[in-house]
Amino acid sequence: MSHTETHWQDICHLDAIVPNAGRCALVKGEQIAIFRVKKNGNDALYAVHNHDPFSQANVISRGIVGSIDGKIVVASPIYKQHFCLKTGSCLEDDTAQLKTYPVRIENNRVQLSA
């Protein structure tokens, strides 16, 4: 099994993303929605594709973040389907899926691998 090295790309300062909200990043021509979820003082980051498969609009980063049945989700702002931020799967329709990306915090910078 070959192991490819992950190339982390610097995106922005952590503070540029408000806790419990998303922002969209442009990475190699791709639009990627990055979410910062904060609970009990800890930050977790998630990254999924910004394209909403139901409306065909690039709006996922503008959805409300929350949890359903223990899964951290975002609700599409257009027709309100929920996507699991960890896996990208849609709770209402298993044929719909958002691509996910590795993302991390390094020295208060958000970094993404795409």
Binding site: I11, A16, N20, A25, A57, N58, V59, I64, G66
Partner: protein, 847 residues
């Protein structure tokens, strides 16, 4: 081998038969043809009079789009069957169609009886049965002054109401000594007469019409047996119905002595292959002239046709009725006249309030046999249950109709006492058990319950009881299951509102820590953001609030299908200066925005990318505009008509009032959006009666209407108070809005809130006008806080660079979203459709 089923008659009962057959899932066993003589598909004859509201036949249609095609039913309208050949099993239609059959369903209904007095067939004489009848009456009324209904029964009074509303001087002529002979007794009849005369309808009882001839002043002159006369321009006969049993006669089925086709408990006629249902059928020597028995017959016939179905049988029906006749509540139950042997009766007459109630009980005073209610029929549901389910009466049966003098409700009936089999909605034959089941499976408001069970969708007489049963069942379930806001908060919206107020909670985080669990979601976050905004009126983009908002509130603009936004500045009352109009044009031109006049008397600018919103708003605010809150669950618009300043009919300055009112309530966050309008006179050009709060100017002040709605399920607003001075009007609106915000569910418009309110309009009046709960001062203070702390959200936002930065599409680039592509149409932009977008993006990439 095909199984040919022919339904003759496409009225409400014929259609109910088809519906039940389809619902059984076994309709495909038959090749079905339905013949209707009328030119259109089945429509709701029970609500025929509602045709006058829209004058559109479509509003009464009972057949969902595509119903016939989806179920392979052949429907022939405008043709009637004229003969049945039982020997060869064939039918023939008037237009020459011949079909063979295996089974026939006769649902030919009845026709209005017209007494054969000389002149009964003159011009300008009508009956009241079909949409065509109403169209003809309306046309004739346009050239008439006086209208007369022959017949003072239930339908006659309904026709009289229609004539009255067509602005005719209206008379009712009745042969019997009182109105509604069948349903009410002497006492009720005379009270009813008084009430109807108060409405300006002249009632003539004991009149035997002998001739109709030419009038001197009017088109007709009617002459009566007592030598009196009456002049009238048009006449509507409503003197009872007769079964349309001509096919039964023609093919030799067993008939009743006075007409009607005899049926057994399965609704079969004397020929096994022919069923009869509805008003043409005679069961137990009786014709049932109401919809509920017809529906029950339809079900019984379906059950008998299908092998192996659990056969319901038709074994008679209750003829109790409750209705509102010209605004007067009238109800009649069972043996209203006390004809049963040894029956005893109690009555209560209140001349001051014009209320009459009578109950008829068994000789041992244990059971209710019948009742008559006129003027107030709130007890109908309860009394009907006592009668239908033979529930034992309380020791003093009169307590059932005596008013509650001490404020404690009189001998009502705990719904727990009803057996599950108790029929609650007779129109649709829905039992208590069915309702309880529906509540258990998740219906927790009356709207859902109606949709799920069909209960309370006919005459509406059972609504109060259906609501009581729902509430009782929900209480038993501990309410939790269905009324929690979402999985994160085990509370209703009202509970949360109270928690926030009482514990002075100022942030979502604090609330979820103390009273909830998890991360929240797209249901609880916006709801709580709205509650916090009503209670404390902080800026919605303040740090602790902005992540709670739906995208529309977050960007303070409405997201469109392509991810761009629309911009709607406030134009209070719809009044705008030429200079401001020019600014709107200039801004739209500069940012290339699609421009449209909205349905709310203002201008919407579409197609703004998120990052341009602060720039656009900067220009608008500099020109004196402010946020229109088109994005929020908040006050939207207060529409106005031009009013007394210009209009020759206006009696008050409706524009001035609308502007003041809009400026008072702008920015008010609420469970759902709020809309208002002010009309300058009764012509109502601002359409105030379809608004949450509507105001119509009068000579003496303002009439206030509440809980109207346009939208998906229009609701006419209720008249709440009349001739108010401006200050009182504002006081009532303050209280009304704050009470709604405090008690409504999430996303519940005032119309639905009202529909679900126990006690309805009267209860609301008692709180807002009479201050029954002692709340008014508090409600006014809460509103005053909101009015005093108003800020234009957009103004505050553009002054804060950190907030402005959040509008950029990318966090790490100043590029725009390349997926947003417009094409031009009629000189303006619109979002490209998918094909256009792909082409345009490709072109760009090639270039």
């Amino acid at each position: 081998m095909s199984n040919q089923l022919i339904v003759i008659g496409n009225g409400p009962v014929g259609h109910k038969f088809l519906e039940s057959l389809v619902a059984s899932g076994q309709a495909d066993q038959f090749e079905i043809t339905v013949f209707g003589e009328e030119p259109r598909h089945a429509y709701d004859r029970v609500h025929l009079t509602a045709w006058f509201e829209s004058r559109e036949a479509a509003s009464l249609n009972m057949v969902p789009d595509g119903f016939y095609q989806a179920n392979s039913i052949r429907c022939i309208s405008g043709d009637k069957i004229i003969s049945i050949d039982r020997e060869h099993k064939r039918v023939t239609s008037e237009q020459g169609e011949e079909l063979s059959y295996d089974k026939i369903i006769l649902a030919t209904g009845s026709f209005p009886f017209v007494p054969p007095v000389p002149g009964h067939d003159r011009e300008n004489t009508f009956v009241y049965r079909t949409i065509e009848d109403l169209e003809a009456i309306t046309a004739a009324a346009a050239n008439s002054r006086v209208g007369t209904v022959v017949g003072g029964g239930l339908l006659g009074l309904e026709a009289a109401k229609a004539l009255k509303e067509l602005d005719l001087k209206t008379h009712v002529v009745e042969f019997a000594p009182r109105l509604m002979m069948v349903q009410v007794d002497d006492g009720g009849g005379s009270l009813l007469r008084g009430k109807i005369e108060d409405l300006g309808v002249s009632v003539h009882t004991g009149k035997n019409t002998q001739n109709i001839g030419d009038g001197d002043e009017c088109f007709h002159k009617m002459s009566f047996a007592d030598d009196s006369e009456l002049e009238t321009d048009l006449i509507v006969f409503s003197a009872g119905i007769r079964p349309r049993d001509e096919l039964g006669k023609q093919c030799g089925l067993e008939m009743g002595e006075r007409g009607g086709i005899v049926i057994n408990d399965h609704c079969q006629t004397s020929d096994e292959a022919i069923y009869a249902i509805g008003e043409v059928a005679l069961w137990g020597g009786r014709i049932y002239g109401l919809i509920a028995p017809g529906n029950a017959m339809a079900q019984a016939a379906v059950d008998h046709l299908l092998p192996g179905a659990t056969a319901s049988e038709f074994t008679g029906a209750d003829m109790s009725t409750k209705l509102k006749l010209m605004g007067v509540d009238v109800a009649s139950i069972g043996d209203a006249h006390g004809n049963s042997e040894g029956a005893l009766s109690y009555s209560y007459v209140n001349e001051a309030d014009e209320i009459y109630k009578k109950i008829v009980v068994s000789p041992d005073k244990k059971h209710l046999l019948g009742a008559v209610l006129v003027g107030e029929a709130n007890d109908y549901g309860t009394l009907l249950q006592f009668a239908l389910n033979k529930i034992e009466l309380p020791e003093n049966p009169e307590s059932l109709i005596l008013p509650a003098l001490d404020g404690v409700s009189a001998g009502g009936l705990g719904v727990d006492m009803l057996p599950d089999s108790a029929q609650i909605c007779s129109c649709n034959n829905i039992s208590k058990g069915t309702l309880v089941e529906a509540v258990q499976s998740g219906c927790c408001n009356i709207g859902d319950l109606k949709t799920a069970t069909n209960a309370a969708t006919g005459c509406g007489g059972c609504t109060a009881l259906v609501t009581q049963i729902m509430n009782a069942e929900m209480e038993k379930l501990g309410m939790e299951v269905n009324t929690d806001l979402c999985e994160h908060f085990p509370y209703t919206r009202q509970d949360i509102y109270n928690l926030v107020r009482v514990e002075k909670i100022h942030s979502f985080e604090q609330l979820i820590e103390q009273h909830g669990s998890g991360h929240g979601c797209d249901i609880c976050k916006p709801t709580i953001a709205s509650i916090l905004a009503t209670c404390w009126n902080d800026h919605i983009l303040d740090d602790q609030h902005h992540v709670l908002q739906d995208t529309n509130d977050y960007f303070m603009a409405n997201m469109q299908k392509d991810g761009t936004y629309s911009v709607v500045p406030r134009v209070a009352g719809g009044e705008i200066t030429p200079d401001k109009l020019i600014v709107l044009g200039q801004v739209a031109k500069k940012y290339d925005l699609y421009t449209k006049i909205t349905g709310g008397q203002r201008v919407d600018l579409f197609g703004a990318r998120a990052e341009t919103l602060p720039l656009i708003w900067r220009e608008l605010i500099d020109a004196g505009f402010e946020s229109g809150h088109a994005y929020g669950k908040a006050l939207r618009t207060v529409k106005s008509c031009v009013g007394s300043s210009w209009c020759r009919y206006g009696v008050q300055d409706s524009v001035g009032a609308a502007i003041n009112i809009e400026n008072r309530y702008r920015g008010l966050r609420s469970p759902h959006k709020l809309k208002m309008a002010v009309s300058g006179c009764t012509r109502e050009c601002a359409e105030a009666q379809c608004k949450d709060v509507g105001i119509i100017a009068t000579e003496n002040g303002f009439n206030m209407y509440v809980c109207g709605n346009g939208g998906m399920k229009p609701r006419h607003a209720d008249l709440f108070a009349t001739d108010l001075d401006y200050d009182t009007l504002i006081k009532y609106i303050d209280r009304f809005f704050m009470f709604y915000i405090r008690t409504a569910d999430r996303l519940q418009r005032t119309s639905v809130w009202m529909e679900n309110m126990e006690g309805g309009l009267d209860y609301l009046k008692s709180i807002i006008i009479d201050d029954k709960l002692g709340l008014c001062e508090e409600l006014e203070a809460e509103m005053a806080h909101i009015v005093d702390t108003y800020q234009c959200e957009w103004k505050t936002t553009i002054e804060d660079p950190e907030k402005v930065q959040r509008f950029n599409h990318f966090v790490n680039s100043s590029n725009a979203d390349s997926n947003v592509v417009f094409v031009r149409e009629r000189q303006q932009i619109r979002p490209a459709n998918e094909v256009e977008r792909k082409d345009l993006i490709n072109l760009k990439e090639i270039a």
